[in-house]
């Protein structure tokens, strides 16, 4: 049935029955048909002239005036575009999008199009991957925002990372959060000092038959309750080395240290290590619910008791994917340079979400191009001796180049105008850092007195789109 385009999912085409043998342009008909067809043009023409063409010119003109619209300032708005940090950030983000997205989406589209040719369930696969196009960028942005939530309990990505992280580096019972600047030294109290490698050690050495007390502060009583802590008791001597690790803070006697008060709890579940005089660990044990511990049969000598670093191992708390933390090391640069050179991590998250939406489009368009290729050329390559990979690289992909360019350029234009997903996915605190040209236009439009700048930004966007416009015209003409 198809006429010109031989693909199965191609342009809607005219049924074969009504096709002619010739299609010479019509002659005759006279004045009436002239008038009729011109009349048909009227609604569309008027609509377009009024709402598209006139505003195009009006916006350009408006961009040359200031915020109020009364004073002509020439290129003043354009100058402020390149000197306002916020707008520079927007432009920078557009650059990030433009560099990363069109290439990635075309790449994945190509990979999927090629791979799906070789499975039986290609239609189902294509439907699944294509379906997100039906989502609004708004809905998709929200969905992916939840996936990237920072809390590992609810955000899928962070939950996965936490799963791996906890398996590899299990968090201790009393984690210290290094990102808040806290170190082990903040836990030091009577009888303890910081030791090597993030540990705590007893201040005194001890030998078998003696006891030792290690006090710690900075441990939350809630945590202790959760771990089932019991009130601390002074240690009794044994043949080995026994002792107590307790929370050296009493709410009733807040300033007194070193004394074991009844309302002070032992610290349960602490992993302890017995360190001999040469620094080696000779035994390990764990504190009981009341913080008591015993090393049964150490040899004679002087030892220190060490609270090992793994007790303070921080758990994974989630990465703020939706924030503007830069992936490039720009923290020491000037604000303007930072604006230009930083790559906010939220951009990457949003690009992933946008790929989820649009890879299906690339796949379908490239798939149609692939299906339209002359099979015999690929067979000729087989006969010439090309392996599958060689055929793909040296014959199939070069032949697909026009289609790949179409997809690339289409996605490029799409991404220049990116808007919805920024608003709905970047965290509220990241909106300024994740903003793009289209977002800047909207923000300035909403500001009283921002219309001039918004118009100028729109003109910049227009200029960026012009090369694609010319490319399209060239394609249609040729």
């Amino acid at each position: 049935m198809a006429v010109a385009v031989p693909t199965s999912e191609s342009l809607p085409t005219v049924p074969a029955e009504i096709l002619p043998t010739t299609s010479k342009p019509a002659g005759g008909g006279g004045f009436r048909s002239h008038l009729g067809s011109l009349l048909f043009l009227l609604p569309g023409a008027v609509w377009l002239l009024l709402i598209v063409v006139y505003p195009l010119i009006a916006t350009i003109v408006r961009s040359l005036f200031d915020g109020s619209g009364q004073n002509f300032i020439g290129l003043g708005n354009y100058k402020s575009i390149f000197s306002t940090t916020d707008i520079i950030v927007s432009l920078k983000n557009n650059v990030v999008w433009v560099i990363l997205f069109p290439f990635l989406v075309t790449f994945f589209g190509l990979v999927f199009a090629v791979l799906t040719e070789r499975i039986r369930w290609s239609t189902a696969f294509k439907t699944i991957v294509f379906m997100p196009l039906v989502f609004s960028a708004t809905a998709a942005g929200l969905t992916w925002a939840s996936i990237f939530f920072i809390d590992p309990h609810t955000g899928m990505v962070n939950a996965s990372i936490q799963g791996v992280s906890n398996a590899v580096n299990p968090p201790g019972l009393y984690p210290i959060d290094p990102s808040s600047g806290q170190t082990v030294s903040s836990l030091v109290a009577t009888g303890t000092q910081t030791g090597p490698g993030g540990t705590l050690e007893s201040t005194t050495t001890v030998s078998p038959g003696n006891t030792v007390q290690l006090g710690m502060i900075g441990i939350s009583p809630v945590t202790l309750q959760q771990d089932g802590a019991a009130p601390a008791v002074a240690p009794t001597a044994s043949s080995g080395i026994s002792g107590l690790v307790w929370r050296d803070f009493s709410p009733t006697h807040p300033t007194v240290r070193g004394q074991i008060f009844p309302d002070e709890d032992g610290i349960p579940g602490l992993h302890l290590s017995l360190i001999n005089s040469s620094g080696a660990s000779v035994a390990t044990t764990t504190t009981a619910k009341n913080g008591a511990f015993t090393f049964a049969n150490p040899g004679s000598g002087n030892y220190r008791v060490q609270v090992t670093a793994n007790n303070f191992q921080a758990g994974f708390n989630g990465i703020f994917f939706l924030g503007t933390q830069s992936l490039t090391p720009t923290s020491s640069l000037s604000p303007t340079l930072q604006a230009i050179l930083s790559i906010p991590i939220v951009d990457i998250a949003m690009i992933i979400a946008y790929l989820w939406i649009w890879a299906g489009f690339a796949m379908v368009v490239i798939g149609a191009g692939l299906a339209a290729l002359n099979r015999e050329v690929l067979e000729a390559a087989q006969i010439d001796g090309a392996s599958e990979w060689q055929t793909l690289r040296r014959v199939t992909v070069p032949m697909l180049l026009p289609v790949l360019v179409v997809v690339f350029v289409t996605m490029l234009i799409n991404v220049l105008k990116i808007f919805d997903i920024i608003l709905n996915m970047a965290a509220p605190s990241s909106q300024a850092g994740a903003s793009t040209l289209a977002v800047a236009i909207y923000n300035n439009f909403a500001l009283p007195g921002g219309q001039g700048l918004a118009a100028a930004l729109a003109v910049v966007l227009f200029i960026l789109v012009i090369p694609a416009m010319l490319l399209n015209l060239k394609r249609i003409r040729g």
Binding site: E376, D384, A386
Partner: protein, 381 residues
């Protein structure tokens, strides 16, 4: 160079349809064999199985001494020329021809020489740096031929390479391919639906119909001794005429009559017909073997009413009908027959072909119908 042997080659599709049915063919080293038959007869499928582009359901393909059934195309030492040329559109002519050798990591100097040599043979030197899109159909087909030559394969496979060319180019390129064959002394397997092409180009021809080999032999064999009705009607242009005659015995004399024709068989034929006990026979006779003269010996004569006279220069092509049956004859134009005229045409015994109406097989001289159809390694001639 190598010969190709097809043994019981069969292709069955998932629905059960048999595209190629136990094809047996022995192609000698350096031979030019044409696979010919109507559209859909399986000749292209057979060729593609030889190439490795179609999976073989059963049977064997041997190239040289190797069984190639499980080898991918690139390991079979073949080259193929496609109907649609199948040139790489993004590569220059030079690169198109060099591609196969490049893949095999042939040294550059060798590649260049091979490409230039092939280009010279095919008169493509001026086009080496052009892309296929800038060439005409005939030039593209020559590039396709060049691509095959450069590989110096054991076997050349060609799938209707001339079908997309206009008549004049077709004749030219046909000659080029023939020249190529002589020069390279290459084994070539050539698929076409055009029996004229097959007859003019092939050392031997294999006629295939509905997946079954009908007959394989030299053009002369197929023309003079078609083994069944299909081959008889397929080979020769215009095609052979067929008339069904009833056998009657009158005393010891066998006579055949029917449809406005009458045949007096010679002694051999009479004996055959008597022995086989056939009561009807299909007689085939070629248009070019009909004459306006009356028969002097055994043979067939048929009276027709002239419908159409086509002037061919030296000859006339006469379309006539005899009791509803169409008869075509080529006679000397001096006879100037007229439409509506009733004439008697005759063909001598030696120009007649007798076929068993039920089986379509030739009524042969060894006393039995030949086991035509699936011929076992028919290598006549």
């Amino acid at each position: 160079m190598a010969g190709v042997v097809l043994e019981d080659l069969t292709k069955r599709y998932d629905g059960g349809a048999l595209a190629v049915n136990k094809l047996n063919l022995d192609i000698r080293d350096g031979e030019f064999v044409c696979l010919v038959g109507p559209s859909g007869c399986g000749k292209t499928t057979a060729l593609r199985m030889i190439a490795g582009l179609e999976e073989i359901t059963s049977g064997e393909v041997r190239i040289g001494d190797r069984v190639v059934n499980n080898l991918p195309p690139r390991d079979r030492d073949i080259a193929m020329v496609f109907q649609s040329y199948a040139l790489y559109p993004h590569m220059s002519v030079r690169d198109n021809m060099a591609f196969g050798l490049e893949l095999r990591k042939t040294p550059k100097a060798q590649i260049d020489k091979a490409v230039v040599d092939a280009a010279r043979i095919l008169d493509l030197e001026r086009f080496l740096d052009r892309k296929p899109g800038q060439l005409s159909g005939g030039q593209r087909q020559r590039v396709a031929l060049g691509r095959a030559i450069v590989r110096e394969p054991a076997v050349f496979l060609m799938d209707e390479p001339l079908s997309n060319l206009d008549a004049k180019l077709r004749v030219q390129t046909r000659a080029e391919i023939a020249r190529m064959h002589t020069r390279l002394e290459a084994t070539m397997i050539y698929v076409t639906h055009d029996q004229v092409e097959a007859m003019t180009m092939g050392d031997r021809i294999a006629v295939i119909n509905e997946g079954v080999l009908q007959q394989a032999g030299t053009p002369k064999d197929l023309y003079e001794l078609p083994q069944n009705r299909f081959v008889a009607g397929f080979i020769g242009s215009p095609s052979m005429n067929f008339i069904d005659l009833k056998v009657s015995q009158d005393g010891g004399v066998v006579r055949l009559t029917g449809e406005g024709a009458e045949m007096r068989p010679d002694d051999t034929e009479s004996a055959l017909l008597r022995d086989l006990g056939l009561d009807s026979v299909t007689v085939g006779f070629r248009p070019e073997h009909l004459d306006l003269a009356t028969l002097s010996g055994p043979g067939l004569s048929v009276t027709v009413v002239v419908d159409v006279v086509e002037f061919l220069g030296n000859d006339e092509l006469i379309h006539g009908s005899s009791e509803g049956r169409d008869v075509v004859a080529i006679i000397n134009a001096d006879n100037t027959l007229k439409v509506g005229q009733s004439v008697t045409l005759a063909a001598p015994s030696r120009r007649l072909h007798l076929f068993n109406p039920a089986t379509g097989l030739r009524v042969a001289e060894d006393g039995a119908s030949t086991t035509g159809g699936v011929a076992n390694r028919v290598t006549t001639g």
